[in-house]
Each structure stands twice: as C-alpha cells, then as structure tokens.
C-alpha cells in the first residue's frame, strides 16, 4: 500500500478520470437492479433530510414571522382579570366595579425609572357593537396613539392612520382593520364613510392590516392569566385614545345575559419600545420587577417578543439536531449498505482485478476504479434523493396545506454528504481490491 501513500492519484489526467467514470458507469449498468437497490439507501436518506428540514423550516418560519411582527424591540404588557379572585369575586360583587390592570402610574414609573425606554404606546380596549347603517358587528374598539402602527409593525393598507392633531382634538375618526372593514362594508370601500358606535359617528380614514393570530407561547408575566380578552380581537376599530377616554370614561360596562359587569381598567395594553436590541431583556426584567411591586395580584401579562423569538430559535435548534441525527443515522445505514455491496462486488470481481493488474493496472488504478463506482452510486443516489426531497415538500404544501421552506443549503449539504459517504464507505473495499495479490486474484474462480 506504500505505492498509494506517496503519490496518490498522481498521474490522474482528466482523460483518465473520464474513462474511469465511463468504465464505472458501465459496470454499474451491468447490474442495474443491484445498483438501484444499493443507491436506494442514500436516496431515502437524502430525501428525508431535505423534506424534514423543509417542513421544520416552514413551521418555525411561521412562528418567527408572527413574533417578529410584534416587534423584536418591544415589550408588550396586557391587562388581564386577576385569575385567582376572578370568578368568586364576580359572583359576590356583581354590582361593584372590578378594578384591575395597568395604570398610567405604571407607565410613568417605567418611563422615569428605567433607562432605555424609548416610546410607550398605551391603548385601551372595549367591546361593543359597531354599526354601518343596519349592519352591525360585535367588535373591539382600541383607543391608541398615532404611532401605534409603526410600533406594532402593522401596515396601513388604505387611507391613513390618525395623526397627532386628531389625537389632540379628540377627533371622531377611526381606522378599521381589514377583517372588520370587509364585514361592515362588504361591497364598497369604507374610507370616507361613517361607522356608528353607540350614539356617535366616526369617519373611517383608513384600513389597517389585521393583527396576526395570537402568538402561542407563554408570556413571562401572567402564570395562568393568558390573553382571554382577545377572543374577539380580530374585529378591530382603532380610534384616538383621547377620544375613547372622553366619550366612554374609565369604567366599562359589559352586558352579559341579563346582568352586567363593570370594570375599571386604565390601560388594556401598553407597548414599550426599548432603544437598543441588546437591552431588551434586561429592561423587560426591570419592568417586570416594577410591575410586580405595583400589582400584587398579577393582573397583567408581559410578552417579550425577543424572548419568544429566542425560544423559538432554541426550539428550532433542538429540532434541527434531532433531524440531523435521524438523517445521519439513515445516511449511515445507506453508506453501510453501499459498503456491503462493494465488498461483495470486490470479491465477485476478484478475477477481473487480477486481469487488470496483469495488464498493467497499478494499485491506485484499482482503488480509483472502485472508489469511482461507490461515488457514482452514492452520488446518483444523492441526486435522486435531492429530486425527491424537493418534490415531497411541494406535495405536502399542496395536499396538507403546510408551509414548507427549502433553503439552498439543505439540498447542497445533503448531496455533499452523500458523496462524502461514498468516499468514506468506498475506501475500504477499494483498498481491499487493490491490496490483492495478482497471482491469487487470477486464480480466483
């Protein structure tokens, strides 16, 4: 084997390589079924790697998009009914006003004591019927500030959002979200028309993107509260916070099956933007601390999109590791299959090896020949696997309605691994072939 080590494949011209490849194809072609079955191991290994990665990538992509839409530099606080006392307290003190949630005081404290807090978007929510002539919809009215869309990454699709002037003057303007707009104005463009809420009319000045479906995953604040308030959140009308406050005050009355409930909540939702991304986590901890002191009974939920994003990435990483090991195992099995067949082939072709050696083949010629055959097997298996691996996610998207994403590196990686496996598992049989004694090889039956 010394001849191999000191000048491996030295006089390997492209011409010889080409002929060696042709020769390899020829001898693989001699045993079509065997070659096909041998390559199958790699085909399925590669194809499952690509398909699984595409599905995983698609699933995590969706979650990450939702999280990113919340703004990665934001900390979102939401008021929730205190969980422990909610039901029993409601029974006993039905007529009393339930007071809970975030307050203006909280915001002031956050703004004045925590460095790095950039913008604060307060918002109030109430539920009521919204009317367009005789059409009515049970919707959510969200009182907020002019910079809300920018902060929450929600695009204004038509018209415009309300301005600081309208905020100042407590104007009767509103922006509808897409879902509500199509419900209330199924046939015409709502911009310029009016929507009635209780006794007053609001001019529609724009349409805003609907909020992405609520992000699953635990928010760091409430341990069990959850965002139950969001049941009807997909029908939204946005009006200036000042207008909402002036018209409806701070006590909201809900009529429910004959009885009614009154709640006093100063702010339903607060979005805080932190100036630097690297500061988000420390700021969120500080905010949490501060709120814990003010709200003994946990009547708020804190959501940190960045944290969710990191969690999602961690999940994805674990997912990828699991996938990677499965893939590695299946490719390993495929490689062992190839090696097994190549060893059998070497034995079967012992005589041919002897003939070639007698006709002037050097050891490295024999190594090259068998190595090329394994690489051809695993490489063509890899190509077939890539084709299948690209087709399967498309079928899944078509029939199972799941998003799948194929990143360029996935097929590239899978294919190069398959070739690599060909080399690794081909070396031993090839060396064994080359190490044979020509005399004995020629005598072999």
């Amino acid at each position: 084997m010394s001849a191999l080590s000191h000048k491996p494949l030295a006089d390997l011209s492209p011409f010889r390589l080409k002929r060696a490849v042709l020769m390899g194809i020829k001898s693989l072609w001699m045993h079509k079924l065997r070659s096909l079955l041998t390559a199958m191991g790699i085909v399925f290994g590669v194809c499952s790697v690509i398909a699984m990665l595409a599905i995983g990538e698609g699933a995590s992509h969706e979650a990450q998009e939702q999280i990113k839409n919340l703004g990665s530099q934001n900390v979102i606080l939401q008021s929730v009914k205190p969980s422990g006392s909610a039901s029993s307290a409601a029974e006993e003190t039905r007529s009393l006003i339930l007071e809970y949630g975030l307050t203006y005081r909280d915001i002031d404290q956050i703004r004045s004591t925590i460095p790095g807090v950039d913008v604060v978007v307060p918002a109030r929510k109430m539920k009521d019927f919204l009317w367009n002539n005789s059409v009515s919809v049970d919707g959510t009215i969200l009182g907020t500030v002019p910079w809300y869309p920018e902060m929450r990454n929600r695009r204004v699709l038509k018209g415009r959002f309300f301005t600081a002037v309208e905020m100042e003057s407590r104007g009767s303007v509103c922006v509808l979200n897409e879902v509500l707009a199509t419900q209330l104005f199924p046939l015409s463009s709502p911009v310029g028309k009016s929507v009635r809420l209780q006794s007053s009319y609001y001019t529609v000045i724009g349409i805003i993107e609907s909020r992405p479906p609520a992000v699953a995953g635990n928010s760091s604040g409430g341990d069990g509260g959850g965002s139950a308030e969001d049941a009807n959140a997909d029908m939204e009308m946005l009006i200036p916070l000042t207008t909402l406050l002036e018209r409806f005050g701070e006590v909201l009355v809900k009529y429910r099956s004959g009885s009614f409930e009154a709640e006093k909540v100063e702010l339903h939702e607060v979005t805080i933007k932190i100036d630097k991304p690297e500061r988000v986590l420390s700021c969120s901890q500080a905010i949490e601390h501060l709120l814990e002191r003010n709200h003994k009974n946990k009547d708020y939920v804190m959501t940190v999109p960045l944290e969710l994003l990191k969690q999602a990435e961690r999940t994805k990483q674990i997912f990828n590791i699991v996938l990677g090991s499965i893939a590695a195992i299946s490719l390993l099995v495929g490689g062992i299959g190839i090696m097994n067949i190549m060893l059998a082939t070497v034995t079967e072709r012992t005589r041919e090896i002897g003939i070639r050696r007698a006709l002037g083949a050097k050891r490295r010629d024999i190594v090259l020949q068998f190595l090329i055959e394994t690489i051809l097997l695993s490489g063509s298996g890899g190509l077939l696997g890539v084709a299948l691996g690209l087709a399967i996610p498309i079928l899944i998207t078509q029939f199972a309605d799941m998003i799948t994403i194929i990143r360029l590196w996935a097929p590239t990686l899978a294919f190069s691994i398959s070739v690599f496996i060909g080399v690794v598992f081909g070396i031993y049989p090839a060396l064994r072939a080359a190490g044979m004694n020509p005399v004995e090889a020629l005598r072999h039956e």
């Binding site: 070639r356 002037g360 490295r364 010629d365 020629l442």
Partner: protein, 249 residues
C-alpha cells in the same frame, strides 16, 4: 567476432519457496535460463512441476524467493509495485487458458485495456485495438461482448489484447487448453505467424504435440529444468553451448 545478443530474459538460479503451514514447498529449485529476441519456446512438464510458478515469475506477477531475474537487463527485484505494473502493461503480453476477458467490456474495449493503463489517448488506443482485432480476424465483431463469442474467438481477442502494447515477450499459459483441436490449431497458427514476424513467445503446456511445433523446448520436473534444447535456429546462427544443458530424463 559477432556481438552476443542481449537476452530479453535472464534467470539466474531462481528459487521459489512457498510456506504451506509448517511445510516449505520448493516450487522452483534453481532455474537458470536465457531467452533471446525471436525465441519461440514451449515449457513442458507434468502438473505440479513448477510451470505456473515459473510463468508467474516471468510475468512479474510474483517475485522469486532467491536468485535474480533480469528483464531486458533490469533486475526485477529492484522494482516497486507500480513499476512492476508498468512492466507488465508495456513489456509483457499475457494469454491465459480461460481467456480472462472482462465481461463488461466489448471486444475492442478489452483490447484497449493495457493501452488505457499506459495512458495512451482514447482515439489512438481505439485505432490500435481495431487494427489488431482485424489481424486476429475479428474486425467485424468489435462491439460484441465476450459472452457472444466462441472460445476460439475469445482467445483471439486475448491475443490481440496481449499484442496491444507491442510487448517484448508474450506469455501463453495453456492457451489452447480450453479449445477444441480445430480452434486450438488456429490459435497455434497465429502464434507461429507472430513468431515469424519476430515476436518472442513462451508457451506453457502439457501437450506433447507443442514440443514438435516450437524450435526450443524446455522440460521441467520437480522445479528444475531437465531438458533445454537451446536455440535450434538462432537468429545469429550461433548455438550457445551454455544453454544446452541436456540432462537425460
């Protein structure tokens, strides 16, 4: 005086031992031999006399245990595995009893194999191979596979292959052993013609009829040369005494 001819092959006291478990088998016990260009030799002997061992050594497929083997003046023992391969491919042509064609390749591709390993360009190799196939009478069967040919035809392919790299010496091991007498006769005819063209041939056989055919006959017994008729028809017209080591059987 006339210049002594440079021998193609010179064996000096070549011995070959095999270790078979605890027993050492002496396959060759000191063979000395010179082969000159244009020689046409048959090596005869009963089975187990060391014919095949001698052929393997002559063919650079095996190395002697002791003694020297000079091929065209070069000591084969000094060559490494790659150089031995090169010698086999360039200077020697093999013809086997069982033809030993590569089944996956066509007639012309089989003939090309030694040329391929010498790195001769494809087109050139193809040209040589086609010409040789024509010479052995297979010009119309270039693209047939060995399995589609008769034994005699397969052996002719093997002869063409042995000639492909224009070797100094052609070694034939029981070349007619698997053939009926008619095809065998055809093969021997080709050998005669080759020798007439000046090729050097060594045939190994146990067929006594061969002894009448070749000018020089070497008989082996128990790993030793018992008869070497020397060169009956030396090109230089000189009978070398030293070769004529005739010990009665």
């Amino acid at each position: 005086m006339e210049k002594a001819l440079q021998p193609i092959i010179e064996l000096r006291e070549v011995k070959k031992h095999y270790q078979m478990g605890p027993v050492t088998v002496e396959a060759l016990r000191g063979i000395s031999l010179k082969v000159f260009p244009g020689d046409y030799i048959s090596i005869l002997g009963p089975s187990g006399c060391g014919k095949s061992t001698l052929l393997n050594i002559l063919g650079c497929l095996d190395q002697p245990t002791s003694g020297a083997y000079l091929l065209e003046g070069k000591d084969v023992a000094q060559l490494d595995d790659d150089e031995l391969s090169q010698v086999r491919g360039k200077r020697l042509g093999f013809i086997f009893q069982s033809y030993n064609l590569i089944q996956a390749l066509t007639v012309v591709e089989n003939i090309e194999v030694p040329l391929y390993y010498q790195g001769i360009p494809e087109k050139e190799g193809r040209k040589i191979a086609e010409k040789l196939a024509g010479q052995v009478g297979l010009g119309t069967r270039l693209d047939h596979r060995p399995t589609e040919l008769s034994g005699g035809q397969q052996q002719r392919v093997a002869i063409a292959r042995a000639l492909a790299s224009d070797p100094a010496l052609i070694l034939a091991d029981e070349a007619t052993g698997n053939l009926d007498s008619k095809s065998g006769g055809e093969i021997l005819q080709i050998f005669d013609e080759l020798n007439a063209q000046g090729k050097t041939l060594i045939m190994i056989t146990h067929d006594e009829k061969m002894a009448d055919r070749t000018p020089r006959v070497i008989r082996l017994k128990d790993g030793e040369i018992v008869v070497d008729t020397g060169k009956r028809f030396d090109i230089s017209g000189r009978m070398s005494k030293e070769e004529e080591k005739v010990s009665a059987v």
